[in-house]
Amino acid sequence: MPGMWWVVGVVVLAAIFSAYLGWTAQRVERLHTRAQSAERALDAHLLRRAAAAAVVAEQAESVELYAAARLALDAEPGERETAENDLTRQLRTVTLDPADPAARTLIGTSRRVMLARQVHTDLVRDAQSARRRVLVRMLGLNRRYPRPEYFDIVESALPDLPPPTVPSPAPVPSPLPVPSPAPIPPAEETRPVQAV
């Protein structure tokens, strides 16, 4: 009965193909969820940096820095990147005293912004390349999730950033407790932010 083997073959192939479809759908979902989480985390770190910058500005009585920090905190989604870049530029002009706790916080938050941006960029790239796949487009999987967008800001590392010095050898309590999910930005901030 050669005809039956043919049927079996088709069934097996169909099973393999549907498993592959399921795996692909899961993969696309995972990539989009991650890109969204990364975006929320980046947003939270940008807010923290702006808040830290405002504190430093108040101490130094720097009107320009304070204005830039306020603008970054209040920016509408479309103006966000410009506002953050302005803040970064302002931050580059201030001299920070590494002994000042507010300055240390600012340096730390700036470093975290950079890390978050790096991870966000990578995850957005992964999600976008998955969306471009023929199979994903044919199944309409890309229409199920909003397209993640890059967040285009300049390198925000502060110059001559002193690495965190540990007052050795005293045992330091865990400086990074397992982070609870990053504070979720206000709902009206409908992201993703459009790239300019």
Binding site: A19, W23, R27, R30, L31, T33, R34, S37, A38, R40, A41, A44, R111, R112, M114, L115, A116, Q118, V119, H120, T121, D122, L123, R125, D126, S129, A130, D160, P162, P163, P164, T165, V166, S168, P171, V172, P173, S174, P175, L176, P177, V178, P179, P181, A182
Partner: protein
């Protein structure tokens, strides 16, 4: 934080990656975290308490040397069991694109995965060709760390995706506690150089010129050289009567490196360019040597603008000779440089490096909102 680290190479054979993993794990434990390291090893092998053996390793020629790795269905099962039991907040794999436990762990993991790239792989062309095949594995990695500028470049150019550069830490305590070589530094003073003396940008010819000039005036002054290279080639450019005052150690192990750095009055880094970080300087700082270095930007940064080591104009052998003469005549100045260096090097000590790695872990966890679970990836 519960941290799972995967080593691709067996700990039986010493190597840069293995040392890095052990130092990092110990630093993280010192900071109060729970760390488990999965590594290829026999079940009865003698291992630190935090290492979980993943079965026998087989030798595999890789990247110009022989690496001992575990791969295959048995290893896969062990990796999965380890992941399930560990309930890690973050999984940290090293060299994930070698056929190794690291690769298996990436495939089996779900949740925050951090990957560290150590080598600038010579087989990068093959790697680029395999990119489509590797894509699903690469997507699992949330954050990437490169230990050097070169490793970062390979990562960016051949695999796409960025990486955070976090250099190796320095095991300050190991360098600071090493014993000097017998008979060194001696009465007449001793200079030290470590590196490939045949490579022009390491600047050895500058030191040679300066040493020959100084040795004529200082009958006891000796030079200690370590690094890969041919003995004949080193001595052929040195006047015959000075041969017995120049000691060549050849390629040295980590522990001999520490002893060598402890054996000199002044460590000289005459590099003329191309040093992106200056690892050897941080090691010399940890060993408590006074340092004379060329004024490259990278060196200036590491040496705290010249406070933790004396700088001379890049490429100027006369200036180097002058500076070395001053330092040899002034023990107080040398002691001051060494004590400043001892403070400055703390920034490069493993606990500081581990804190930067922890920030990457946190970023990675935030971007996935979850723990590392065993994942059916069929």
């Amino acid at each position: 934080m519960r941290i799972g680290i995967v080593s691709p190479y067996s700990f039986d054979v010493p190597g840069g990656v293995q040392n890095h993993i052990m130092d990092l794990a110990e630093a993280l434990i010192g900071l109060g975290h729970t760390v488990s390291v999965l590594a290829p090893a026999e079940d009865d092998a003698e291992l630190p308490a935090y290492v979980v053996p993943a079965g026998r390793a087989v030798p595999l020629p890789y990247n110009g040397s022989v690496a001992r790795i575990s791969f295959g269905p048995v290893s896969t099962a062990r990796v999965r069991r380890w992941l399930r039991r560990g309930e890690f907040d973050v999984l940290h794999v090293h060299e994930p694109f070698t056929p190794s436990l690291s690769f298996l762990a990436v495939l089996s993991a779900r949740g925050p995965v951090v990957a560290t790239f150590h080598t600038a792989m010579t087989r990068s062309r093959a790697l680029s060709a395999a990119q489509n095949f590797l894509q699903p594995a690469m997507e699992k990695i949330t954050a990437r760390i490169a230990v050097s500028e070169l490793a970062r470049k390979v990562q960016v150019e051949h695999l796409g995706g960025g990486a955070v550069e976090i250099p190796n830490g320095v095991a300050v305590a190991k360098f600071a506690s090493a014993a000097s070589l017998p008979g060194w530094p001696g009465e007449g003073g001793a200079l030290g150089f470590l590196g490939r003396f045949t490579e022009p940008r390491k600047g050895f010819p500058l030191l040679r010129t300066a040493y020959v000039a100084l040795a004529r005036k200082r009958p006891g002054l000796r030079l200690l050289v370590a690094g890969p290279g041919d003995r004949e080639e080193l001595y052929s450019d040195i006047p015959d009567d000075l041969h017995d005052r120049v000691e060549f150690l050849g390629l040295v192990s980590e522990s001999d490196k520490a002893r060598m750095l402890r054996s000199v009055d002044v460590y000289v880094a005459p590099n003329t360019g191309g040093e992106s970080f200056g690892m050897i300087l941080t090691e010399a700082m940890a060993a408590g040597a006074a340092i004379a270095a060329s004024d490259l930007d990278a060196f200036r940064r590491v040496l705290d603008g010249g406070r933790a080591g004396a700088l001379f104009p890049n490429g100027d052998a006369n200036a180097l000779a002058g500076l070395l003469g001053e330092l040899l005549d002034d023990p107080a100045r040398r002691a001051e440089l060494a004590s400043c260096a001892g403070l400055a090097v703390r920034a490069f000590d493993w606990p500081s490096v581990a804190n930067r790695v922890l920030e990457v872990y946190a970023t990675s966890i935030e971007a996935t909102d979850g723990r590392v679970f065993d994942d059916e990836w069929s």
